[in-house]
């Protein structure tokens, strides 16, 4: 049974990977099984091999292996195109339209990989295209010290129609700069596995509104139940819970123009 808050998981992954959690079923069927078990309505899976192996191959894998389902919204990994390893923005957008992909995910590793940091000159053409088509971009940054306001402010200011969802799973209260960005930029959002702070949901909703946080799980590394319970037990209005659980993300996906 679908949970009454109508959860949409914006941060989950499937597919083969180097070091999956023990006993994990990385197939789409495995994800759907977990969604059914916990009552999650919809999810936006990415192919995890795109993080450290090959972004474009990951996207092709997702096309081939994600079943047609109104509950699953494919998310592609994005990389820079200058070497020819990844499509240029115009071609990427065309492929996204063809494959009904309405969201992208940018992995920042903090080490030698496709993008070790938010290297803005390499991303200008891509962000121009995403801004024009209002495509949400999930920035997945495992290193909590890699990003600061100085890195993200030019992105939020320069491409105001590109919704940014930031996920930093190890944020341990060094997030004062989030407040600076929330105050100034409507296109700055943070997902819940990146914000596990006691009292955090209540504080952000009260000061900036519920639309600044979105539910995500970071499945398969985290159980989706973690962030679900954080939201369910939060001391905010039911309408705000629904916004965070999925309504905000559904609106952002509906606004994509491809």
């Amino acid at each position: 049974m679908i949970h009454p808050l109508n959860f949409l998981d914006v941060n989950c992954a499937i597919g083969p990977y180097y070091n999956p959690p023990p006993g994990h079923d990385w197939s789409a069927k495995g994800l759907l099984g977990k969604m059914d078990e916990l009552g999650i309505a919809e999810a936006c899976p990415v192919a995890l091999m795109g993080r450290d192996y090959d972004p474009w191959e990951a996207n092709r894998w997702l096309v081939a292996n994600l079943p047609q389902s109104e509950r699953l919204h494919p998310v592609w990994v994005v990389a820079t195109h200058h070497t020819g390893e990844f499509p240029a923005p115009e071609q990427l957008l065309a492929e996204m339209a063809q494959n009904k992909v309405r969201m992208l995910r940018l992995f920042l590793s903090g080490r030698l990989s496709y993008l070790d940091q938010l290297d803005l000159p390499l991303l200008v053409e891509l962000f121009d295209a995403l801004d024009e088509h209002r495509v949400p971009l999930l920035i997945d940054c495992v290193d909590p010290l890699l990003l600061h306001a100085a890195d993200l402010e030019p992105v939020l200011k320069g491409w105001p129609h590109m919704p940014v969802i930031l996920s930093i799973p190890k944020v341990v209260q060094n997030e004062r700069w989030f407040y600076y960005l929330w105050e100034r930029y409507d296109n700055f959002n943070v997902d819940l596995p990146g914000y596990q702070v006691l009292g955090g949901i209540e504080a952000i909703v009260k000061r900036f509104g519920a639309h600044r946080l979105v539910y995500g799980s970071r499945y398969p590394y985290f159980t989706p139940l973690q962030s679900m319970l954080q939201l369910i037990y939060s001391e905010i209005e039911e309408e705000d819970k629904r916004a965070i659980a999925g309504d905000t993300m559904r609106r952002l996906l509906a606004e994509v123009r491809l």
Partner: protein, 258 residues
């Protein structure tokens, strides 16, 4: 999914499940980090709202240990049914055995927290080099059969030498090498605290140590209580073992009456 998780998904206050948080810091400023909930009374209120019935609270992050122990005792006096205070001893500030005696006999505290934050390479005698310096402290704890929650500092020697003292390694469910090495000592335990400890690490810890030596902890006020409950509730363990981890094991170590 187990019955407790099903009820949690409905947002029920889990008052009929014994839930003891074995890893709670006295809410305050925290080594420069941003704390949304920095009032200890608000922190306790939030725990009780979820259904956490008891919290093991200690200082460790504040610079003045003796004063912090007094504050922990004050909180425990305010919530005699819900807060169990632990003393934090920093050997650079106090005579450890004398301070623990004061904390137990005058303030009513019931265990000890040791933290690597208090170690320093600049000190004339780093804690890691201590041997007989521990004897007074552990002789006292052995006599009282009182537990030690430790973050770093404690060596295998100490666990072996003081079998009457229950040792709990803070954040230990992720320390696979440590758990495998120390599993032979019945007085060795681990807790689940930390944003980075996932559900599958809890079940892996149970495989190594058994369900009776894993204790639920949150690291509050860093982390959200409900969020961390999800890690145990979706660990895939049988409900009886989940109940052990959530509270029964802690009740045993704390010598609480059923």
């Amino acid at each position: 999914m187990n019955a407790i998780a099903q009820r949690a998904l409905k947002g029920e206050k889990l008052t009929d499940v014994l839930i003891i948080d074995f890893h709670v810091h006295l809410a305050s400023r925290w080594t420069g980090m941003h704390m949304v909930v920095s009032d200890p009374y608000e922190m306790v209120r939030r725990a009780l709202a979820v259904g956490v019935s008891k919290l093991v609270v200690f200082g460790a992050i504040q610079p003045d240990m003796r004063h912090t122990n007094d504050m922990v005792a004050e909180l425990a006096r305010r919530y005699p049914d819900h807060v169990i205070g632990f003393a934090t001893v920093n050997p650079y500030q106090v005579d450890m055995a004398e301070e623990v005696r004061r904390c137990f006999d005058e303030l009513g505290l019931r265990g000890v927290k040791l933290h690597s934050l208090h170690d320093s390479e600049h000190s004339p005698a780093p804690i890691a080099s201590y041997r007989e310096e521990w004897d007074g402290l552990f002789a006292f704890l052995a006599q009282r059969k009182a537990p030690v929650l430790y973050h770093g500092i404690v060596s295998e020697d100490m666990i072996r030498s003081w079998p009457q003292v229950p040792f709990v390694q803070a954040h230990g469910v992720s320390d696979v090498e440590g758990m495998r090495r120390l599993a032979r000592y019945p007085n060795y335990h681990v807790d689940t605290a930390s944003t980075q400890n996932p559900a599958w690490a809890v079940s892996r810890a149970v495989q190594i140590l058994g369900p009776e030596r894993v204790l639920w902890g949150t690291d509050a006020p860093l982390d959200d209580f409900a969020q961390r409950l999800g890690v145990v509730l979706d660990s895939g363990l049988p409900e009886a073992e989940i109940r052990q981890i959530l509270g029964l094991n802690a009740a045993r170590l704390l010598q609480l009456q059923p």
